[in-house]
């Protein structure tokens, strides 16, 4: 059995994707995990959900009881269910605070399940957060799960999770952190469905194209989904969007005035489908350099 260690802070968002596809029985060792983002949760769920059914998957839960309790609170083990074996056993889950500003990990078979989930989550989130933050969250989720269904349709479904961080305990920039992932064909193959965008040389090129207006893999007059996600991420304050698809990654700083700075890179491993991280910022005073500095140290150095 192969072991993949996912430790430290936000290992899947901060580091590289794990080698994919999984070719042998695999243990995901979360023992040293100290901080996890919604992106990490959905990425792990995609890995488990899209792995070959004949493979045995095992998860070693975090040693840190707070982190383990958080994974339980976010329903990671519930959503992964019978697909994984957890060893050693999980502790009994702590009582839940019903009004926490988060959306637990969910697996969606159809995108419009998010419309139905809003009935449950809108009142909870609105009891803690301003109207515009909640509206922004659901607009972003709506666009991303639509995309996941369009270019990500797979038996694994798509996964979502979100949490509002005040930064008080996490030390991270304040705002709504959102993760959406799928195990579908990816952005490059999706765009190839439109003759205008067939033959793109790389996944990075596909991501570069996909964040432009009116770019779509369909025949319809569409192509605003990711553009709107980028706008929404920076609407109230500086935000960050990370898009991973295939072997490409784009990281975008977006400012309230519509400014956008992008960094692209080629990933050492292919990621299954497409995964997106959004930090919809909520501190107006945070500067672009401050945001990049915080996220750079967080994203590529902190382990």
């Amino acid at each position: 059995m192969r072991t993949i260690v996912l430790g430290g802070r936000a290992p899947l968002l901060a580091g590289n994707p794990v080698p994919w596809p999984l070719k042998a029985d695999t243990t995901f060792d979360l023992g040293d995990l100290s901080f996890v983002t919604p992106f990490d949760l959905v990425s792990l769920a995609v890995l488990a959900g899209a792995a070959r059914e004949d493979l045995h998957l095992r998860v070693v839960p975090p040693v840190d009881t707070q982190v383990c309790a958080y994974l339980q609170r976010m329903d990671l083990f519930t959503v992964l269910g019978r697909r994984i074996r957890v060893e050693p056993d999980l502790p009994e889950e702590r009582p839940r605070e019903a009004d926490r500003a988060l959306i637990e990990l969910h697996r969606l078979e159809h995108p419009d399940e998010i419309d139905d989930l809003s009935k449950e989550f809108w009142p909870r989130l609105r009891s803690r957060l301003p109207q515009e933050v909640c509206a922004n969250l659901f607009e972003i989720l709506g666009e991303l799960v639509d995309n996941a269904a369009t270019h990500g349709a797979s038996a694994a479904g798509s996964f979502i999770a979100a949490q509002y961080y005040s930064g008080a305990t996490s030390g991270m920039p304040e705002g709504m952190w959102i993760g959406v992932g799928d195990a579908g064909i990816g952005i490059r193959s999706h765009l190839a469905g439109n003759p205008r965008h067939s033959g793109l040389p790389s996944d990075v090129a596909a991501i570069q194209l996909a964040v432009q207006k009116w770019v779509t893999g369909t025949a319809d007059r569409r192509g605003w989904g990711l553009v709107k996600v980028l706008e929404a991420a920076g609407e109230a304050a500086p935000g960050i969007v990370v898009i991973r698809s295939g072997r490409g990654e784009g990281r975008f700083y977006v400012g309230p005035t519509g400014t956008r700075t992008a960094r692209y890179r080629y990933l050492p491993h292919r990621t299954p489908g497409t995964s997106v991280h959004v930090l919809a910022g909520h501190i107006r005073s945070l500067t672009r350099s401050g945001m990049w500095g915080t996220l750079s140290s967080y994203s590529w150095k902190t382990r």
Binding site: R126, Q131, E132, A135, F138, E139, D146, W224
Partner: protein
């Protein structure tokens, strides 16, 4: 003249798929209505709406109406909060379309559309029932230019177009402002 209402379920319209489902219900409502009727799209239950949802529900409906579908039925969008209004406006602008919008206070306005849209709707509302020539005279435009505007106005649902038979024979369209319909 009957008023129909489609109440869109809240609190959030998030996905293109759900927007499409609501548009199909709206099209059914339009089909089951009669010429001269008013159809209200009630968004007051929505706290938030994504661009894709709004585009699928309203944007595509208005685009389809440009080809002539249901132009003898008026449409008024009944608004929710400012977020919803802004998203709707953004979607309409991207399609270079306009719509008639009524806010929670009952004020009716022409939303988005080409530069001439608002002024033309206001004059149409003032005339209530009119021919293309009547409106052309009001706005000091040629009948041809006015026909082009009226085509978009009818597609938006702000006016409804009805075929009449003039005294001399042939065919002629008459128009009625949506606000002239009782309850609009």
């Amino acid at each position: 003249m009957t008023k129909h209402r489609l109440v869109v379920d809240g609190p959030v319209g998030a996905t293109r798929q759900r927007g499409q489902e609501w548009r199909q219900r709206l099209e059914e409502l339009l089909r089951s209505s009669a010429p001269g009727d008013l159809v209200e799209v009630d968004l007051t239950a929505l706290e938030a709406m994504s661009v894709s949802f709004a585009d699928e529900l309203i944007g595509r409906l208005l685009a389809d109406r440009l080809t002539g579908d249901f132009q003898d039925r008026a449409i008024v969008i009944v608004g929710g909060n400012e977020d919803v209004r802004e998203t709707l406006e953004a979607v309409l602008e991207r399609r270079d379309a306009g719509a008639l919008y009524r806010d929670r206070q009952g004020l009716v306005e022409a939303l988005a559309g080409p530069s001439w849209f608002r002024e033309t709707v206001e004059q149409a509302n003032d005339l209530r029932e009119f021919s293309a020539n009547d409106l052309a005279l009001r706005l000091n435009k040629s009948p041809q230019a006015m026909n082009n505007r009226l085509k978009q106005l009818a597609a938006s649902g702000a006016v409804l177009r009805e075929r009449g038979v003039p005294k001399g024979g042939g065919k002629e369209f008459t128009y009625r402002a949506a606000t002239a319909i009782s309850g609009a």
